[in-house]
């Protein structure tokens, strides 16, 4: 990775890649592999599928790089691609849609446990509360209705503006905002027991 690439915007990196600069593409992968994998994971709730979706999303970027217009944001573009791949995956494997948060992965760990993997363990009571909070958040998000979860993930995790979400999902912007508000109100109920704890952490 060159210093220039690290400072460049996503759109500039995409322009450079279209001119044949592979390092620019590598920088884009570094920036987006984590959020895309997590977005897919929360959307389809399956690790293997999420990994494949993340790979396929970048593959589509490669194949459709000529279609990328400089006027639009790269993040919006790649999250729209990923969202469509997630929908396809859910259609193909409907039986996974209702998988629970406690679905075990290949190595037998729960998702909640995975989240803390590799991070320094918090000591004592606080560490236990953090784990409990993270598990509660993931459970609450996974329990959201699909239309609300989609908007929530795009806005909260992808950082996609409401107007762009409306364009991606083909839904009026006001409807998108309403879904977001319903999702937050629902999460608020689910996470009420952690609210005081969260305030204390601030």
């Amino acid at each position: 990775m060159t210093e220039g690439h690290a400072e460049s915007s996503d759109e500039m990196l995409m322009v450079r890649y279209k001119r044949g600069d592979r390092d620019a593409f590598a920088e884009l992968v570094r920036r987006y592999q984590r959020p895309l994998f997590n977005f897919s994971l929360r959307y389809v709730r399956n690790r293997e599928a999420a990994q494949e979706i993340a790979q396929d999303a970048f593959l589509r970027v490669v194949k459709r790089s000529a279609d990328f217009k400089h006027e639009s944001r790269f993040s919006t573009w790649i999250f729209a691609i990923t969202r469509n791949l997630c929908i396809d995956e859910l259609r193909k494997a409907k039986h996974r849609v209702h998988s629970s948060l406690d679905e075990t992965s290949t190595n037998g760990q729960s998702l909640g446990e995975k989240i803390d993997g590799g991070k320094p363990a918090l000591d004592g009571e606080q560490g236990a509360s953090n784990n409990e909070l993270r598990g509660g958040i993931l459970k609450a998000v996974d329990s959201l209705p699909e239309d609300q979860r989609e908007v929530f993930l795009l806005r909260q995790m992808g950082g996609v503006p409401f107007a762009e979400i409306a364009r991606i999902t083909g839904t009026p912007e006001n409807t998108v905002k309403s879904r977001m508000r319903y999702a937050l109100e629902r999460l608020q109920k689910e996470l009420r027991e952690y609210e005081e704890y969260a305030r204390a952490l601030r």
């Binding site: 790979q55 490669v62 194949k63 995790m157 905002k177 937050l184 608020q188």
Partner: protein, 367 residues
């Protein structure tokens, strides 16, 4: 902002998508509305609380993606590759530097066109300013433009009445316009150079004939050639013949610099021949021209002095050889002629075979 309006912008405020003015209005509303402040507080806390902790992607995801990219680039269909190339070219085409370069080339190209279409007499301005022919170097000998103005119009003025050069009469007078034009068209520049060479070497008869051919060919240097034809005639045959040619050139190119120059030389010739009224007519015309005004006025004063002296002479009588006015646009009105002028003309003018040729226009204005 009221509570209903605040509800519509709550999500935008929460995610920082409001413009500054609306955000300030919403915050002002929050400041004094307990209900909205309470709702806002809960939503903000929930938003902060529900920040999903990101999981590290599986190891090998980056390598897999890059490997897929390398493979995909090799197997891209032709259409995708073509669109990629077009996209790259379009990006270059839209660059402002390229547009500026194109504009610069356009400007240079158009200026070249204007330079190439320089007015026909542009190279002859120097002749006028110096007052005398400065030689062929000032006449752009390298120019090869076809002048269409005189195409098919051999002379524009009657030339058949002019006396032929005694030594060269058979060739000069016997050459028809049909014979002259093809040569002039094909070798106009060469003919002019040959004529100029003959002139400079003192072969005035040949030079006069060659200049005459160029003058009647429609070549772009026809005007200059006609003037030089007059010079050659003056040097070879004398002023009487040259004056007629100068008159003809002055009439043919009326309004141009060549016309003025021819008029000046015609005046000089008439003055040398003693035909002072005719000379005065030319000088009167030239005094209106900035390049000749001073010299013309001085010449007029001298002529006036000469005329006054002649009028006092007892031998003065009616009748004059100064019967014609020059065929220019600013003729002097005909005045009584004197024998003294005629006598002076015969003594000053060089002998020529034949009478002084008069243009039809000049004859119509004579007594």
């Amino acid at each position: 902002m009221d509570c209903e309006k605040f509800d519509t912008v709550t999500m935008d405020l929460l995610y920082g998508e409001l413009d500054e003015l609306s955000e300030a209005a919403a915050l002002r509303h929050l400041h004094h509305c307990t209900r909205c402040r309470d709702i806002w507080g809960h939503l903000r806390t929930t938003r902060e609380l529900s920040e999903i902790p990101l999981e590290e992607p599986p190891s090998g995801l980056f390598e897999n993606i890059m490997a897929q990219e390398a493979h995909a680039k090799k197997t891209l269909p032709f259409r995708e590759r073509a669109s990629r190339v077009i996209s790259i070219m379009a990006e270059y085409a839209m660059r402002p530097q390229l547009a500026m370069a194109a504009l610069l080339l356009l400007m240079i190209g158009s200026s070249l066109v204007f330079v190439r279409t320089d007015p026909q007499n542009g190279g002859q301005v120097l002749v006028t300013e110096l007052g005398t022919p400065h030689g062929e170097n000032t006449l752009r000998p390298d120019s090869r433009q076809e002048a269409m103005v005189f195409e098919g119009n051999p002379a524009g003025v009657p030339r058949g009445g002019m006396p032929a050069e005694p030594n060269d009469g058979a060739k000069g007078a016997g050459t028809s316009d049909e014979d002259r034009n093809p040569r002039a068209k094909t070798t106009g520049g060469q003919a002019y150079s040959e004529a100029m060479a003959a002139y400079q070497e003192g072969r005035y008869a040949e030079a006069e004939r060659l200049f005459s051919e160029v003058a009647s060919s429609g070549d772009e240097r026809a005007a200059s050639a006609a003037l030089h034809e007059g010079h050659a005639a003056r040097n070879g045959s004398g002023c009487q013949r040259a004056a007629a040619l100068y008159d003809s050139v002055a009439a043919r190119y009326t309004g141009g610099t060549v016309s003025d120059e021819a008029s000046w030389h015609a005046a000089s010739c008439y003055r040398a021949m003693g035909q002072l009224k005719r000379a005065a007519a030319h000088y009167n015309h030239l005094k209106e021209r900035a390049a000749y005004a001073t010299r013309a006025l001085k010449a007029l004063e001298e002529i006036e002095a000469q005329l006054s002296v002649a009028a006092k002479e007892p031998a003065a009588s009616a009748g004059s050889a100064d019967a014609e006015a020059p065929a220019t646009s600013s003729n002097v009105g005909a005045s009584p002629k004197t024998d003294s002028e005629k006598a002076a003309g015969e003594s000053a003018g060089q002998p020529a075979p034949g009478t002084v040729p008069n243009s039809p226009a000049a004859e119509a204005g004579s007594d």
